[in-house]
């Protein structure tokens, strides 16, 4: 039935002059043809399609059969397939390129989510053939094709482990490889244009589309991908894809160092200059930096003459971007990029002026957030190690400024404690022969010490909450009193001791006594409650709040444990405090 309809409409159209086919003709051709193909009459349709008498008809209407053809071609074992393949090939050859591009891209867009990879791999080659026929006008069509295909590829799940990459269940690797084959002739064309005109014009549209594609790929999927090293995975299509993207950029007149340092060398200080940000999105450049310096992709075409501090400056913006997000993959990449940039720089070489630049100022603060708030423990640990590495690279003056700034802004007792430990190390270094400086000795040290050796909320400071900071401050003070002899007083601590007593030691002693008394009373209560109500006690006699959050009601045993450990902590603080008071007293200063 459908076959008759199909051959009828074709015969009727043979008589129509000047290709004045009506919409009805188009519709019938499409619906009848579709049904025939679906029914398995591929052979008959083929014979009609390739008949010379029908050339014009096929040229005008053939592309409407793409949908049913693609469906058949996707099914590997279908005896209809060879005929459909022949029809498909013929249509690609004779139909108008513009309509074919639209038709093919429609198929890509509408692919079912579990068939995306198959459709793309099937259609990229014919798409390429059609686009090449468009001649000089192909740029916008190429652009449209690239963005449609890449949009679909971006939906494919990214393989995480080496095994997943090898298995490539969802086809991302195969699509990336196919994309490289697809884009090759267009890249060659741009290279030819460059050779002939001796320079690249910004207005070269085809180059613009390829640039857009490369930038988009760098952000999706490459930013999410975790590339494996050659020792882990010898053959990696994803690594090849990343390498080729960078090589393409370099060959179309976008040298990698220019891209990397793009933001730095811009004259405009005004942030958010739209055109440039759209053309060179920061996320893509961040991925580029990571590929170069962490994965060493395409490093053989990257000049080996740039200075390490300059590279660090270029990369800081990308580190800032990557560390400002919460996705684990971004944070991991940000930390790796920061680390790899820092190790190239000599210890104690980053000058204090760098801290005037926004990224140098905000990255340490981002790091603090990562170290304290990120739920993934490996990321927090790495964050801490990169944090210390960054501190080590700054000059003494810069360390001083950084410490003072972070003590003010980090608002986390653990971080503050860590910084205070660093301060102690710096003072220790400065007291060594030949290391004198005016930052951790001399006139700048005292304001720093006063900033460190104090209780943030006086005697009401929550000692448990601020334990890390308090312990490190006490350790620092104890260290100073022992190391710096009273008669030398190199650090000036001895002349300041009475001030520190007032602002730190006395309130601490008072707070400690209050806390101990309070917890001891609670402990006594809890023990009595437990004794009187036996082992079937229900409601908690006391509630415990940690950081404004009430803990769920605990069993009496747990209560006892918590209270006990609080008391142990107070004992700990007290022992150091007592030692300090002892040393101070021994010098007759209390």
């Amino acid at each position: 039935m459908a076959l008759e309809q199909f051959s009828d409409v074709v015969q009727r159209c043979q008589t129509i002059q000047d290709e004045n086919f009506s919409p009805v003709d188009f519709d019938l051709f499409q619906s009848a043809g579709k049904t025939c193909i679906e029914q398995g009459d591929g052979a008959q349709v083929l014979s009609i399609i390739i008949d010379d008498k029908n050339t014009n008809i096929v040229r005008c209407m053939g592309w409407n059969l793409l949908e049913p053809l693609v469906k058949v071609l996707l099914k590997k074992e279908d005896k209809n397939r060879p005929h459909c393949h022949a029809i498909f090939t013929h249509i690609i050859e004779v139909c108008s390129s513009k309509e074919l591009v639209v038709g093919l891209l429609e198929q890509v867009e509408e692919a079912e989510s579990d068939a995306i990879a198959e459709v793309i791999i099937l259609l990229l080659r014919p798409l390429q053939t059609v686009l090449l026929k468009l001649g000089k006008k192909k740029s916008s069509s190429v652009g449209m094709a690239l963005s449609t295909v890449l949009g679909q590829v971006a939906q494919l799940p990214v393989p995480l482990s080496k095994e997943q990459e090898e298995d490539d269940v969802f086809g991302l690797c195969r699509c990336c490889t196919a994309l490289l084959d697809f884009i090759r002739p267009f890249v060659e064309e741009v290279k030819e244009n460059i050779k002939h005109s001796r320079s690249v014009s910004r207005d070269d549209e085809l180059k613009g589309e390829i640039l857009k594609f490369c930038m988009k790929s760098l952000s999706e999927p490459l930013l999410e991908v975790q590339l494996k090293d050659p020792d882990t995975l010898e053959q990696s299509p994803l690594r090849d894809f990343a390498t080729e993207i960078l090589v393409i950029l370099s060959s179309i007149g976008e040298p990698l160092p220019n891209l990397l340092c793009h933001n730095m060398l811009r004259k405009r200080e005004v942030p958010g200059f739209l055109e440039e940000e759209v053309r060179y999105p920061k996320e893509s450049l961040a991925c580029l930096a990571h590929l170069l310096f962490v994965k060493h992709i395409a490093m053989d075409i990257f000049p080996a003459v740039l200075s390490p501090i300059f590279l660090l400056q270029c990369n800081m913006e990308y580190v800032e971007l990557l560390l400002s997000r919460t996705e684990e993959s971004w944070l991991q990449k940000g930390l790796e990029l920061y680390e790899k940039s820092l190790v190239r720089v000599e210890d104690c070489s980053l000058p204090v002026d760098l801290l005037d630049l926004k990224p140098f100022f905000s990255v340490p603060q981002n790091l603090v957030k990562v170290m304290t708030l990120c739920p993934v423990q490996t990321v927090r640990t790495k964050g801490l190690s990169v944090f210390q590495l960054s501190i080590d690279k700054f000059t003494t003056e810069a360390k001083y400024k950084l410490f003072r700034c972070l003590l003010k802004t980090s608002e986390h007792a653990g971080v503050e404690g860590y910084i205070i430990k660093n301060i102690k190390n710096q003072i220790d270094l400065s007291l060594g022969p030949g290391n004198e400086n005016e930052w951790f000795l001399g006139k700048h040290l005292l304001p720093l010490l006063h900033q460190v050796l104090r209780l943030p909320q006086g005697p009401e400071t929550d000692l448990l909450h601020n334990l890390d900071r308090i312990m490190e401050s006490l350790n620092l003070l104890r260290y100073l009193l022992i190391r710096d002899k009273e008669w030398e007083n190199e650090t000036g601590i001895w002349s300041e001791l009475h001030k520190i007593e007032d602002s730190f030691l006395k309130p601490l002693r008072m707070g400690l006594n209050m806390s101990k008394a309070h917890y001891e009373a609670e402990l006594k209560n809890a023990k009595e409650n437990k004794k009187s109500s036996g082992t079937e006690s229900k409601a908690a006699a006391c509630t415990v709040t940690v950081e404004n959050e009430r803990l769920p009601n605990m069993t009496p045993e747990m209560q006892l444990q918590v209270l006990q450990s609080a008391l142990f902590t107070f004992d700990l603080i007290e022992s150091v405090l007592a030692r300090i008071e002892e040393i101070a007293e021994a010098k007759g200063r209390v």
């Binding site: 004259k267 405009r268 490093m299 003459v305 200075s307 300059f310 190239r344 720089v345 000599e346």
Partner: protein, 430 residues
Amino acid sequence: SCSVSRKNSNNNSCSFPVLSYLGIDVLVKKEGTGTELPMTGDKVFVHYVGTLLDGTQFDSSRDRGEKFSFELGKGQVIKAWDIGVATMRVGEICQLFCKPMYAYGAAGSPPKIPPNATLVFQVELFEFHGEDITEDEDGGIIRRIVTKGEGYTKPNEGASVEVHVEGNYEGCVFDDRDLKFEVGDGDSLDLPPGVEKALQAMEQGEEALFTIKPKYGFGNAGHAKFNIPPGATLQYKIKLTAFEKAKESWEMNTSEKLEQSVIVKEKGTQYFKDGKYKQAAVQYKRIVSWLEHESSLQGEEEEKAKALRLAAHLNLSMCYLKLQEPNPALENCDKALELDANNEKALFRRGEALFVMKEFDRAKDDFQNVIQLYPANKAAKSQVLLCQKHIKEQHEKDKRLYANMFQKFAERDAKVSASMCFLCSIVKCD
């Protein structure tokens, strides 16, 4: 600073001091044809091949097919290059022997360069030119640095700077002063816009020569006091002795922004009283840029910010009216009305702006709105009458115009039908 040992191929020393143990040796293989040496900050273009001491090649710009370019003397490249390339002339080919301390030191440069590597570069210098510091890269301001500055920051708009300025036209010095001022004020000190742009590209302590095209100089007006004709390209030697940056928006917290906004508002008002509307506008715009996107303000701070923004927009609209720029005046009135829908000044000034733009109907609407809300406003009443007069005149004009048009059409139609008749009569005759 470091001295460089330079030898030509015959191993004879050239004009630079010989201290080769310092770590950079320059062996000249082919003398250059140029006479000048590149200056700090110049963009230089080279080809190079880099090898390790054992001859292994690790990098080559020739293999990439593209010259390598960088800004000389700014720490963008390893120290050996900044120092060595500065001794080269155009057309010269030389070999740079770089000890690790002037190359990549103990860290090396993974993956290509191992730790503590001495590097050998064969470098050919093709060209160099002064740095174009204009935003659009139109060649309007070219810099040659005489003395490099220090630090990583540069003055921004509003920064206070201490400078020495020497202006030169065709060999004659027309301006030679020590100045202390805020970037943005240059106009009132007879400094062309190019000088202020130049300052924003300089580092502390830098001294540089700037070639400024008329677009960024005194333009087509020239400058009578200095005897500068129209369309003059100027040379300025500027030394930036010291500066203090004006705080950027992100550097300030909310209370600092509010504080600074109050200060800047007073500055703007002072400029306005002195008739310096452009400078006044610059100040008020700063308030807008600082406070525009401050979110999560509460209570007293929110009230203060709103009041400052309203004042800024109102004052900006007045500045633009004085500068005869009705479009931005209108925009600012609209913004003011977003904050305070019935604001008397905003409505009135919007009316004024629309009047200048000859939108008399809309202007009249605004003025009538003012009268309704603020009946005591006499100025609005007279403006309404003025608008009505103009509207009437406009109608008259339109009527005459259309009348003329119809007359013309009628005449033309008559002519056409006349000629048609004539033709017909010809055809008819036989």
